[in-house]
């Protein structure tokens, strides 16, 4: 019971996402950060106010963190379908209390 809770907490903390999700987050973070940097420069230059550059850049970074960092469910929509476990075929041959450990 305690092990289960601990495992859940660990999963939540680690926030693992599947391979497709990793690809998506990579793409999204790159796009958000690059466009916010470019936009920050353009807005600041157009308005002739460097504070706009600062805050637009920081805001873009904050959005990137919010969108990418938490393990949202849509980053876990295509779990990898591993091959089924082939039991008994290549066992290690170690037995504990009459049970075979693979």
């Amino acid at each position: 019971m305690a092990d289960e809770i601990l495992q859940q907490a660990q999963e939540l903390l680690e926030g693992q996402i599947d391979f497709q999700g990793q690809k998506t987050t990579e793409l999204i973070s790159t796009i958000i950060l690059a466009t916010s940097g470019l936009l920050a420069f353009i807005i600041g230059f157009a308005q002739q106010n460097i504070y706009y550059t600062l805050w637009v850049g920081l805001g873009g970074a904050a959005i990137a963190f919010l969108v990418v960092v938490p393990p949202y469910p849509f980053y876990n929509r295509s779990p990898e379908r591993w091959l089924p476990k082939r039991s008994g075929m290549a066992g290690s041959g170690i037995e504990i209390d009459g049970k075979r450990i693979n």
């Binding site: 996402i17 973070s29 504070y51 393990p71």
Partner: protein, 252 residues
Amino acid sequence: MHSTLVRVQNVFGFFTTVAFCTALLTALSVLLIPQHPRASIELRNVQVVKGRPHYYSPKKEEYAHIKFDLDADFTSLFNWNTKQIFVWVTATYPSSKTSSSAPPSQAIIWDTIINSRSQSHPFNPLQLIKSATTPTKKSSKAKSPTKKKDPELEPGIIRLKNSKPKYQITDISGILSERTNVTLEVGWNVQPWVGALTWTLPEGMEIGRWKGVKGGKSKAFDMPPLKGKTASSETVVASGGTPKAAEASAVI
């Protein structure tokens, strides 16, 4: 990107790269903005008196008290990336009468820091949010004339009439009287938010869209002979404090 910690590290790492590139673009964009500073400086009055660097000093030196007029327009030095500019006036004179190979002596007689508008009125989005959330309370007050904004003056205009020097200057030899060929010069240093510091562009010089200062040099004058050799007219520089600029409000 498989776990939270890795995603935090990756996003932050790329953010630093983006921030650096934006800063680089900002620093380089300054080159596109034309600069055409103009300054005219004239001598008003000059006196040379004997004095001591501080009260207990046994050494006596000659101090020049130079009053001047300065009329300068440095507004074009203020672009979106300017934090502040430092402006100074130097007195330049030949170091020795005999050898012309020695570099001239220079001493600053007056200086000031001019803040840009972005420095004096920083923009903070948190204030926008604050004022947006409490509009009902202040709506009645906003109509009252108490909320008066300062006139949006472009910083960088200096008008000094008969200004006292901030610093009384002396020479390493201790003798300043009857020096010849003294000129007053205006110099500046632009301090940007990001990027390189830039210094005075001398007259006639041109770098891209940046033009050198128009004027910025006074006519040559000579130092007068020593005034009042009696002990009563001695000045003590340190205890007297540095004289302040004639009108602080004249610097906008």
